[in-house]
């Protein structure tokens, strides 16, 4: 199954001399053709059950088909409302929509990264990182075990819902462990932070299988972490 993110871009069609602002504000069909990019659910490069026993197929299916899809639908809705508010010059509405955009857009961004961070053991999941990323981990954390322990500790200590990240600090050229709350993407902690690995510690990510024992989920997920993807991103950004 090829991974493809479908972004549908509809192009504007107008007859010459037609006043843009008036028609867009009045006509909902033309509003959509203003060039608003909407999003749809990306495919997973593996079957739902292929990450077992680390993550159950039921959880993967729910997370993908329900949670991620809901974030995308609500994000598209929020974008449409934002587009309308912007074209009307409604400043307070534009600002008011930022919460919904950060939450739903963040949910889409974060989960899209998450699917790439995971791989079945048959396709390289769990294989430790080598080359540049491997050395960087040893330099910045001492060893892979130390890094894993740190990420697990921060993930376990996170109150409520959120994500724990292995980030590349592009300015300092160093690796860092960060956490974000709810669906805040990593950039909310700094525009210079590039996400290499993100682990979802919302309860829906593990509850059906591990119940309240979040540490077990965190210990087991390393068996299906796709270090290859993280290495690719690292190599690209550090170059």
């Amino acid at each position: 199954m090829a991974l493809r993110t479908l972004a549908s871009k509809k192009t504007l069609f107008l007859s010459p001399g037609f006043p843009l602002r008036r028609c867009v504000a009045a006509d909902p069909v033309l509003l959509k053709t203003r060039g608003l990019v909407t999003f749809s659910l990306p495919d997973l490069p593996y079957d739902y059950g292929e990450l077992e026993p680390a993550i159950s197929g039921e959880i993967m299916k729910l997370q993908h088909q329900k949670h991620h899809q809901t974030y995308i639908s609500n994000y598209n809705k929020a974008l449409e409302q934002l587009d309308e508010a912007m074209s009307k010059g409604d400043a307070s509405k534009v600002v008011g929509l930022q919460g919904a955009i950060k939450f739903n857009g963040g949910g889409h961004v974060n989960h899209s990264i998450f699917w790439k961070n995971l791989a079945p053991t048959s396709k390289g999941g769990g294989e430790p990182p080598h080359a540049a990323l491997g050395w960087a981990i040893d330099t910045d954390f001492g060893s892979l075990e130390t890094l894993v322990k740190k990420i697990n500790a921060e993930g376990a200590a996170l109150q409520g819902s959120g994500w724990v990240w292995l980030a590349l600090d592009k300015e300092m050229k160093k690796l860092r462990v960060e956490t974000t709350a709810n669906q805040d993407p990593l950039v909310t902690k700094g525009l210079h932070l590039i996400p290499l690995l993100g682990i979802d510690v919302w309860e829906h990510a593990y509850y059906l299988q591990y119940k309240n024992v979040k540490p077990d989920y965190l210990n087991n997920i390393w068996k299906v972490i796709n270090w290859k993807y993280a290495s690719e991103i690292y190599a690209k950004e550090i170059a």
């Binding site: 109150q159 409520g160 709350a181 709810n182 669906q183 309240n212």
Partner: protein, 231 residues
């Protein structure tokens, strides 16, 4: 002389300690709307862990001795700059309040003075109910939704809070609450928050408990118009 030395070196460790209160019904009494399995994990694991975590914290903070749980929550909230004990203290309080906000064979409608107050502040019971459910499903992340009585405005109001925060820290008087953390509904309803919130309103919420709470609240808030006698 040796004995005196012994006495002065003995220290009596005073420790605050809170026990885990059980819900006012059996763990399977809320079936089929909230499964026994959920109660076993939600109360038996999550709530218990908050209590144990709180006691561990308090073992290291002797100055927090002598508080009721409610006072402890307000004190550790520290006006918006919560101390490390707040999270556990507040979650213990929140869950105590939540179990008591539900009852077997619950739901249906409030009655009497509480219903009148709801109709006064929301227009009708159905409008209140819809607004409550809507608030519940629009929480971003983990949190709680509350029906509170606001003492200054003398009005009922619906509030959402994040993570462990509860309205008593703002001196609001909570009447009912609904836990919207995923662990509260995921085993029974998966991602269907709307079904969970509707089921709570239809079958779980205890209007008995809510009535008792608003009756108690009237010791602090004058809800009616004062009856001035005609000369």
């Amino acid at each position: 002389q040796k004995r005196r030395l012994c006495w002065s070196q003995r220290s009596f460790k005073v420790m605050a300690y809170y026990g885990l209160t059980t819900p006012p019904y059996e763990l399977d009494a809320l079936e089929p709307y909230m499964s026994k399995k959920t109660l076993e994990v939600h109360w038996g694991k999550h709530h218990r862990e908050y209590v144990e975590g709180l006691n561990k914290h308090l073992a290291n903070s002797p100055i927090l001795y002598g508080y009721t749980l409610e006072e402890l929550v307000k004190a550790t909230y520290n006006n918006g700059n919560p101390l490390p004990e707040f999270n556990n203290a507040a979650q213990v309080w929140n869950h105590d309040f939540f179990w008591e906000s539900m009852q077997p064979d619950g739901g249906k409608m409030p009655w009497g003075g509480l219903l009148e107050q709801i109709e006064k502040d929301f227009g009708s019971y159905n409008k209140f109910r819809d607004e409550f459910v809507e608030s519940a499903i629009s929480i971003f992340g983990s949190g709680w939704v509350w029906l509170v009585l606001k003492p200054e405005e003398k009005k009922l109001s619906i509030l959402r809070t994040s993570n462990a925060v509860c309205p008593i820290v703002w001196r609001d008087i909570p009447i009912i609450s609904l836990d919207m953390w995923e662990h509260a509904y995921y085993l029974d309803y998966k991602d269907n928050r709307e079904k969970y919130a509707n089921t709570f309103m239809n079958h779980l919420v205890s209007w008995h408990a809510a009535t008792a709470r608003i009756v108690r609240a009237q010791a602090f808030v004058n809800l009616g118009e004062p009856k001035v006698p005609v000369a």
